[in-house]
Amino acid sequence: MTSDTTYAPPEDLDARRAMALKVGAVGLVACAFGYGFAPEHFFRSWLIAYLLFLGIALGSMGLLMVQHLSGGAWGVFRRVFEASSRTLPLMAVLFLPIAVGMTSLYPWSHPELVQNDAVLTHKAPYLNSVFFMVRALFYFVGWTTIAWTLSRWSRLQDEGDMSVNIKLQYLSGGGIVFYTLTATFASVDWLMSLNPHWYSTLFGFLFVGGQGLSALAFTIIVSTFLVRRAPMASLFKPSHFHDLGKLSLAFVMLWAYFNFSQFLLIYAANLLEEIPYFIARITHGWQYLAIFLVVFHFAVPFSLLLSRDNKRMPHRLVWVALAILVVRYIDLVMLVSPEFDAAGVNLHMEAGEHEGGFYLHWLDLAAPLAVGGLWAWMFFTQLAQRPLLAFRDPYLRESLETTGGH
């Protein structure tokens, strides 16, 4: 190990942070306009963008807990995961527009709709405005508590308190169970209930798997930034990127596996309560986006990540990771937008026939800038607060021994 044990963040991190804030501010202004002119689209777009960055934060927390339990060389990226997971309080704040826009997004929040619909009446004990908010509050309190406790113990570890090591493992064990269960219910609340008649038991896995992939892609991007600068330039090895690449490949395959399974089972059964979800997504122009996702969310990253060199060389891997983040966003568009018509009205909100069809709104570009800018600002702020290497990590020696020579 080098004599420098501060592992201070590189000089130009502040510039990135300031830049992120500017992007976020521009995005916010654009969103404010959007809210004025097209409030329906604003809430929908905000939801999509919000879920992307929430996914990075939560996925990072999940991977961090897996790392505490499993060990492994990819633990050198722990501080990136920790900084991402410490953005969760900001995500709780950014959830507010969704709470405000509940009636615009979710049909079950309209009592008159619920009264006239036997299915919604049946689901009302779960799908109602008060319980929705209570659950959201519960998720955020739980997630934030876990993320900050992990982070606090991690700082104690830096200060030499080795008694936290076992506590980190205990909390991670319980935390993973908590995260998986709450994320499943969050996926029902925030996404599945956009079409309140539809259900799929696999949906929670899809949601969690997507978050893991987003988190890995983001970690690759940040780590590529770090590996080009002191002090991490000498510490992140090709083998470490290789591990992130392999994990990304596994998550890309999982995404395809879950989606294919869900599609095949619902398509083959062709049941009235299930099939509308896919009819909405394989007709009216959305089918092109579906094909796009099959190619660019699966086939292309899968082929690229098979290559050993692409995984080991950060300057190549980072492009795959950037592309993955983009398709993650498009995947979320696919989950949300086909439930709305081109005017931004939820298709299940109004009685009578009205058809959806492919559309994009300029807010779909503005919202990710707003949420992403603010989120990245928070992330860089958090990243700068700690040494970039968890230098007292009990698995660290093993991590750094894994040299790239073989």
């Binding site: 036997a118 008649h197 038991t201 696999l202 095949l264 089972l265």
Partner: protein
Amino acid sequence: MAAAPGHSHDGVADGGNMRPIPPVIAPGHTFESVTEKIGGIVLTKRTQIGWLVGFAIGFALLMLMNMTIGQLLFVGIGVFGNNNPVGWAFPIINFVWWIGIGHAGTLISAILLLFRQQWRTSINRFAEAMTLFAVACAAMFPLLHTGRPWLAAYWLFPYPNSMGLWPQFRSPLIWDVFAVSTYFTVSLLFWYTGLVPDMATLRDRAKSKAGKVIYGMLSLGWRGSARHWHRYEMAYLLLAGISTPLVLSVHTVVSFDFAVSVVPGWHATIFPPYFVAGAVYSGFAMVMTLAIPLRKFYGLEDFITMRHIHNMTKIMLVTGMIVAYGYANEVFFSWYSANMYEGYMMHNRMTGPYAVFYWSLIAINACMIQLFWFRSVRDNVGLLFVLSLLVNVGMWLERFIIIVTSLHRDFLPSSWDMYQPTRWDFAMFAGTIGLFLSLFFLFIRFLPALAIFEMRTIVPEAKLQPEQHG
């Protein structure tokens, strides 16, 4: 607490108060002692009395299977308790149970190899053998459930016959034929490829003429040259790559057997990952059930160490928790779906005539496995043996619940009926256990149950290298 002295390669944490991780091989072993110990089990002339007793039990049950098959072919498929509406009971339950057990072998041999998990080394050989035998047992059921297995060729395979009969390609059952036969073929190749260098070791060490000849033929002319090793490593890695998707695909297709239908309790999109997790879970339980007596009776505690026991328990905990998630998920969505048939299905499972099996299943697979969180449980080998047997029971009950409760009361109350297995159902199930035990006992007597040459790579001698490079 300070780290264990002599930091070893296997990741003992340094500087922390982490509890020490047991080694993958007990200290003090050399190339010679490993070869002697594992090869000795096979090459000894003296057959142990314990082995004879165990094999006799297995063989007796195997004879029971033969008798059942005779009865089945003579009388017909009516000897089983299958009825209408439960047209598909013990044969498919046992098929899925056995196929699931097979999964641990492939996971250990392929995925853990690709992830460079060194602890796989001493359990991979017999886990792979277990896979093969389990798949063989599984294959008995669909074959015999056809009632006339000699006609199965054109029922199961797309065989161009003069009657113009083709299988229904849209049915997952026919996908299953391909998935399972691919799985068996690749597993067999994988297992045999790994055995070749050990066969050569046995050939060289065999005292008897027959041993020399038989092991000599099985070793395919292996001389251990650098070129042989190079090709061997290449082939083994390739086979691992090919096997990896099979770990997922086989049980995914098995889950499609149910989930593609529209039967309440079967048609659930979570079935594929939930079945795969359940398969790995039951597979590791079976590896544990076999490994614990094996290490005890043959004194292999140095090779199958507490490290292996711990890791296997942890994998069972993870996969078991996914299975438990599946149960919770089913309960929530049977309500959330607002579908009366789904709702009734869950109500019937919990309070219907088979409720006792449902709650036993929950007690084992959702409650009991929480014990695996505790280190004291993971250290208690005797208890783990009992728990691993219970997991096998729990996973059998899971298939029973899924299959029988969904079928016996479906949409029309007028067609509801109860299912009662007959003694021939039980005889057939016990018979396949006999087949499995017989094959496994023969395997440990005549083939090296642990990979000798791979074990040699993890003894300290193998680590003595010139200056580390890189």
